[in-house]
């Protein structure tokens, strides 16, 4: 009968653990707070099912424990019960899926006029690129990458001349307006992730991926790589600072444009970091 007591304790203990846990989400810093709400909702439904199944099992084991002089029931099927269990389960699953897909529809629809910036990953560093005064990112290609042109900028593209290149582990972003994050990798898969933003997406060599979010809270957050990218994966770190539009502009102004880096390539490396 120890198993009955243990099962009850597990059901109750799991719920208490959930209520008292010190380990929970970081405070959200983007518009994706709806995901947190969905997780809490999913927890409510799945938690109820888990507790119900475990307690029912425990009760059945207790009530129908072996007795020499008793026979089990002979009940191969119960069509009515099986039907209703199917229906109730299907309804529960739809209740989880429908709001999930609704939020996903937001996630895949980048708002008109979202500001773009680009994240370029390599083993095991983050670099960033902003479109500059013209609001357009110039084209770039892995084939153009050299020591002096680490972003692989296309020298002939007029859109690229004013792009701001940030070879630094920290990037700043303005609060309050939607941002489309364009993701590019030079070598292997990486994944741009700030836990407080909730959203993440892989960087894939050979293509450009993206996602969007709106920063809603000022502060400096850990940026980390969430896709195994080799032996230095755990060291591929960065920072994202969310601040006011003015502070962001002041920060960005300290970094060189692509055109500025071309005549004097030796300035690109360490000099850029002085901007903060």
């Amino acid at each position: 009968m120890a198993i009955v007591i243990v099962l009850v304790l597990m059901a109750v203990g799991s719920v208490l653990f959930h209520i008292w846990t010190p380990w929970w989400f970081t405070e959200v810093a983007s518009n994706w707070g709806a995901i947190d709400e969905l997780i809490v909702f999913t927890f409510a439904i799945t938690g109820f099912v888990f507790v119900a199944v475990v307690l029912f099992t425990a009760y059945a084991i207790y009530k129908f424990r072996y007795k020499e002089d008793r026979r089990a029931d002979y009940e191969p099927e119960n069509k009515k019960l099986e039907f209703w269990l199917t229906v109730v389960t299907a309804i529960g699953v739809m209740a989880l899926l429908a709001p999930g897909l609704a939020v996903w529809a937001d996630f895949v629809t980048v708002p008109e006029g979202a500001e773009e910036f680009e994240v370029v990953g390599e083993q095991w560093n983050w670099t960033f690129r902003f479109p500059g005064a013209d609001g357009k990112l110039g084209t770039a290609d892995v084939a153009n990458i050299t020591y002096d042109n680490p972003f692989g900028m296309n020298a002939d593209d007029p859109n690229g001349q004013d792009d701001v290149l940030i070879e630094d582990y920290e990037v700043h972003l303005p609060i309050g307006s939607p941002i489309k994050v364009l993701l590019r990798s030079k070598d292997v898969l990486h994944d741009f992730w700030v836990p407080q933003f909730r959203a993440k997406m892989d960087l894939v060599p050979g293509l450009e991926s993206h996602f969007w979010f709106t920063p809603t809270r000022e502060g400096t957050f850990d940026l980390l790589c969430a896709e195994l990218c080799g032996v230095g994966h755990y060291t591929m770190r960065g920072k994202v600072t969310i601040e006011s539009e003015e502070a962001f502009k002041a920060w960005l102004a300290a970094y060189p444009t692509y055109a500025e880096t071309v005549p004097a390539p030796s300035d690109t490396g360490g000099g850029a970091a002085s901007g903060q």
Binding site: F64, A72, L228, Y234
Partner: protein
């Protein structure tokens, strides 16, 4: 009821074992091959267990153990995952339990292709040897993660990118060859070698699970084979199937135009059915454990069968739920989230039916039953967290965190292992003729069950914080509280305890082989055919002179009006042993020879 006399059976001289070599080494007997498969799988599984403990040492006490550097850590991660999923669970459920149970449960003398069966084991052993050789090649085994995603897997910057990845891919290719030989055999045997009266709808659920899982494997493994071959070509010949233009460590590489995401699609087209290749046999076996030890028929047999088939079919259209953040077209998310959550319905029904099998049963709480109950708890837990990860938008913050690690270990690590243990305690008496020690078994159960729950339940909460997986160390993260590091230490302690207790299980396996209590032919008073053999352990050919004839389904426990609380499948109808309607699902009850089983003699 018409009495049907057992058929005369002529002796088989296909592969009589007459020397030590043909009996135990180059054996074509499915029972010996099953044991060979099982022992090899368990041995290689122990290696993977030790690797997991190495990871826990690093995570619990970072930096304390100097021999664990980042290279070796990622090699532990990779080899642990691959061994557990493929070389332990797949091989043990299908090569081990499948080989042992299919002919015995269906009333056959052996697999239909005994020589192919033998070859399957030896190629499997070769694949294991090639895999283990990774530790002896320059650079050691690959550290690319068990998913082996290119470009990383074949580039410098990943451990074992020169040799380890080659031995890994070669070993996988060999494994798939071995699996295909075994798998064709299992499917053909199930379809062709059932004894008289054994209709498909009278088969025990163990066979249904193994049968459908094998079909999944035959359809899914080719995707892994081609991706392994293509990756090998990218690595060795310089093709660009999966390799776009790349600058690695400042060098322009000679690749262009390939697609890393193509590999992920191929990998998960195999990888998701693979989850069910492991899960479906576990579903089947645990159904039989629950029914036997609850002394009650499995509840909703037909729904259980159709759920297995439905899950098997659906498992081929959910693969990209592993790729929600891969950068694939985001609109795929709608489709794959929907299919993934649909698969929850038949899965949930199976859980209900297991618990309803206990309801109004007469439950014997022996060791196999304890493990079966443990499975219900861990599988329910792990299945429900799948509803988080399958629901595309909810997956976005949780993917690549410890929530995922906790989820898949609970659902396809701990749960199938619970069934493996329960099944070994259940069938060991048939394999060896002796019972495993009960007290050691209970101790093994309690520590394993409670210990694994203590490991994986809190781990979900690390995932909520956002602790990323596949990290060698967590230094200077603002968002990870100190208490999470303490939690990691506690998880490691639990893991070491659970790991150590598996030695008790091994000791039990060894000691009971000589000293265990004699089992007799049917110690659990079970209905299925393997417990009705004339000898225990069953002799070569399984059934002596005459094959059994099946008169009823596999779950005639506690039949009203019967003298005993179980009626073996080969028990002819009589006043003491009535036949219920359920015994003849889709089958003419008056004449077992009229349908069903296809094999009338050997």
């Amino acid at each position: 009821m018409v009495y049907v006399p057992p058929q005369e059976v002529e002796d088989v001289h296909l592969h009589d074992p007459d020397t030590f070599m043909t009996k135990y080494i180059w054996s074509q007997d499915h029972k010996v091959i099953a044991v060979q498969y099982s022992l090899t799988a368990i041995a290689v599984g122990l290696v993977a267990l030790v690797l997991s403990l190495m990871m826990r040492l690093q995570l619990g006490w970072p930096g304390v153990f100097d021999f664990i550097d980042p290279e070796s850590y990622y090699q532990f991660v990779t080899m642990h995952g691959m061994i557990m999923v493929i070389y332990l669970l797949t091989a043990l459920f299908l090569g081990g339990f499948g080989n042992y149970l299919i002919p015995l449960m269906l009333g056959a003398r052996d697999m239909v292709f005994p020589f192919l069966n033998m070859l399957s084991y030896w190629v499997y052993l070769l694949s294991v040897i090639v895999l283990m050789s990774s530790y002896f090649v320059p650079g050691g085994p690959t550290g690319a993660g068990w998913t082996l995603y290119p470009p990383q897997a074949i580039l410098q910057g990943t451990p074992g990118a020169d040799w380890g990845i080659v031995t890994m891919l070669a070993s996988l290719a060999l494994f798939i060859v071995a699996f295909t030989m075994g798998g064709l055999n299992y499917v053909t045997t199930v379809l062709q070698a059932r004894t008289r009266g054994m209709t498909l709808m009278r088969m025990p659920l163990s066979i249904w699970g193994i049968f459908v899982a094998t079909i999944l494997g035959l359809l899914a493994f080719p995707a892994l084979l081609v991706s392994a071959v293509m990756l090998l070509l990218d690595k060795l010949v310089g093709t660009s199937f999966f390799m776009p233009a790349i600058v690695s460590m400042g060098e322009q590489l000679d690749y262009s135009g390939g697609s890393p995401i193509l590999f992920q699609h191929l990998f998960w087209f195999f990888g998701h059915p693979e989850v069910y290749i492991v899960a479906l046999p576990a579903f089947g076996l645990v159904s039989d454990l629950l029914s036997t030890h609850a002394r009650k028929n499995i509840f909703g047999y037909r729904m259980m069968v159709w759920a297995i088939v439905a899950i098997g079919g659906l498992s081929f259209v959910v693969w990209a739920h592993h790729m929600y953040v891969s950068g694939m077209n985001p609109y795929f998310g709608f489709f794959f989230a929907t299919t993934t959550l649909i698969i929850a319905v038949p899965t949930a029904l199976k859980v209900y039916n297991w618990t309803l099998t206990l309801w109004r049963g007469n439950i014997r709480l022996n060791v196999p039953m304890l493990f079966a109950i443990g499975f219900i708890v861990t599988f329910t837990n792990g299945g429900l967290t799948g509803l988080f990860l399958g629901n595309v938008i909810v997956d976005i913050p949780l993917s690549d965190t410890y929530f995922v690690v906790a989820h898949f270990h609970m659902v396809m690590g701990v749960s199938p292992i619970m069934v493996v243990f329960g099944s070994i305690y259940h069938w060991y008496p048939k394999v060896t003729g002796r019972m495993l020690d009960d007290r050691l078994g209970r101790f093994h159960f309690w520590v394993t069950f409670l210990g694994t729950y203590a490991i994986y339940f809190p781990m979900h909460y690390l995932g909520f914080i956002g602790v990323p997986r596949r990290y060698y160390a967590y230094e200077d993260f603002d968002f990870i509280p100190e208490s999470a590091i303490t939690l990691n230490e506690n998880i490691s302690i639990a893991a070491l305890v659970v790991g150590a207790v598996q030695l008790v299980f091994l000791y039990n396996l060894v000691i009971s082989y000589r000293r265990g209590k004699l089992a007799g032919s049917n110690p659990w008073e079970a209905t299925t055919l393997e417990w009705q053999t004339p000898q225990t352990p069953p002799a070569h050919g399984n059934w002596g002179d005459t094959l059994p004839v099946v008169y009823r389904w596999a779950y005639d426990y506690s039949v009203p009006g019967a003298a005993k609380d179980f009626l073996p499948q080969n028990q002819p109808p009589s006043d003491d042993a009535p036949v219920q309607e359920e015994d003849n699902l889709g089958f003419d009850s008056t004449d077992p020879a009229s349908g069903g089983g296809t094999r009338e003699d050997a």
